[in-house]
């Protein structure tokens, strides 16, 4: 049937759970491409056949030309259809892969192994480029707000809004909490070289939880063996399985996202 392979490929994608990744179906993907080539060849054959017919000027030229025309049209439409299926397959996977960078970790090695195996080489490349773009954007936002010429002219209120936004993120960190606390609305003067200003810039990390926590520390339980002497921002910890810890929220966040820890409440 026409452009059937493309449909099978999309069906394969749809059968997986929504928003989650299946292994890249290289085999079927290539079959779709092969089918495209075949449609293209038949389309070419029909067109050149039609052209030859026209030169010969046989009896019912118009009638045959029309039916050749429709034949070519069907092949053409099938090509377009297969293209749409291929694009949708790649596009929808790319969206999931982008989400990994935002929600799980910016380095490929940070992803669980079973996820890494599901990516095709070009998707790994895409993941790497997307995370580095994200990282450089985050770095740039920090720099911009520090040395950008416009920061000299903005009003105190505007500065306050920006600082507040930073503070929301920075609250997750004890240092940030103290710095934030010490800002007084009236007396604060902007100095791009001040240590606090620069630190605020470094705290911007868009992939962190944006809701300000009630406490910079949280209680967690380790769910998997993570090895000994893991370096956290304020100490090294021995994170054995089932052990419970009182960690900085910013440190714990990435491990929770990867399913290595869980947050304890109450």
């Amino acid at each position: 049937m026409y452009a059937r392979k493309g449909y099978e490929l999309v069906k394969d994608l749809a059968n997986g759970e929504k928003g989650q990744l299946q292994p890249f179906n290289e085999d079927l993907f290539n079959q779709v491409v092969d089918q495209c080539t075949q449609h293209y060849l038949e389309l070419q054959a029909l067109i050149s056949y039609g052209n030859r017919k026209m030169q010969e000027e046989s009896v019912d030229v118009r009638e045959t030309r029309n039916s050749d025309h429709y034949g070519a049209l069907i092949h053409h439409l099938s090509l377009i259809r297969n293209k749409r299926c291929l694009m949708a397959y790649v596009h929808n996977r790319a969206e999931v892969i982008q989400n990994f960078a935002w929600k799980v970790g910016l380095e490929l090695l940070e992803l669980p192994e079973e996820i890494q195996e599901k990516l095709s080489p070009s998707e790994k490349n895409y993941f790497g480029k997307h995370s580095s773009a994200l990282q450089s954007y985050m770095a740039e936002v920090g720099i911009d707000l520090n040395v950008g010429p416009w920061t000299d002219h903005i009003s105190v209120t505007e500065r306050w809004v920006i600082m507040y936004h930073y503070a929301m993120v920075a609250l997750a960190d004890e240092e940030g909490y103290k710095a934030y606390d010490s800002i007084s609305r009236e007396t604060r003067v902007y100095d791009p070289k001040s240590k606090m200003e620069q630190e605020f810039a470094n705290w911007i990390c868009l992939t962190k939880d944006m809701v300000p926590p009630k406490d910079p520390y949280i209680k967690v339980r380790v769910l998997d063996d993570m090895g000994e002497g893991i370096l956290l921002s304020d100490k090294t910890a021995n994170l054995a399985r089932h052990s419970m810890h009182f960690l900085k929220r910013t440190d714990a966040e990435q491990y929770i996202a990867r399913g290595l820890m869980e947050e304890l409440t109450g």
Binding site: S67, L73, I74, C85, A88, R258, E263
Partner: protein, 184 residues
């Protein structure tokens, strides 16, 4: 056109419709059993919607009403819309009907809105009250669109409950799939 990359859109357009060819067509093999390599004028077959639609616009085929909108289904929907198994008839009943209505039979529109009004009430009611185990039988009857509605209703109910009870904010990224069972 709906979103070009929309998976459901693509799957929906693969639904078959019966057509009659108004023109002879050369160089194609629509029916794989015959291998004639051409189609005669007036012959009947079933084509996927995306192809039938394009050919219909060029007056090469005429489209007739597919079985999922036939008289029998209409009668069943009039009897009790909430109990009709629409999924097995057509998983994209509403979307497909909307696309099809202007091409072959305008009365499909009325049928769709009538069916949806009754079934929507049922879907929301079940989503908010039924336990998951009991719902699976009911879920078998729903089309894809109704399933999404059902899931949306259920997840908003869950979110509401979570907001009321409180719970951990940070969780394992859902994108990694279901939690693995801990290795023994």
């Amino acid at each position: 056109m709906a979103n070009y990359y929309d998976i459901d859109g693509i799957l929906m357009e693969e639904e078959f419709v019966p057509v009659v060819f108004q023109k002879a067509i050369n160089g194609v093999n629509i029916d794989e059993s015959t291998e004639k390599g051409c189609v005669e004028q007036g012959s009947k077959t079933e084509l996927p919607f995306w192809l039938a639609h394009e050919l219909h616009m060029r007056q090469a085929v005429s489209i007739s009403v597919p079985t999922c909108f036939n008289q029998k289904t209409r009668l069943e929907i009039q009897a009790d819309a909430a109990c009709v198994d629409l999924r097995s008839r057509c998983p994209y009943f509403y979307e497909f009907g909307c696309k099809l209505a202007p091409l072959c039979d305008k009365s499909i529109g009325l049928l769709l809105s009538y069916a949806f009004q009754i079934r929507y009430k049922e879907v929301l009611h079940k989503a908010h009250t039924t336990a998951f185990a009991a719902a699976s039988k009911f879920l078998m009857l729903l089309t894809k669109e109704e399933t999404y509605l059902y899931e949306a209703a259920q997840s908003s109910m869950l979110a509401f409950k979570k907001w009321r009870m409180g719970g951990p904010r940070l969780q394992r990224a859902s994108i990694l799939g279901r939690k693995r069972k801990p290795a023994e």
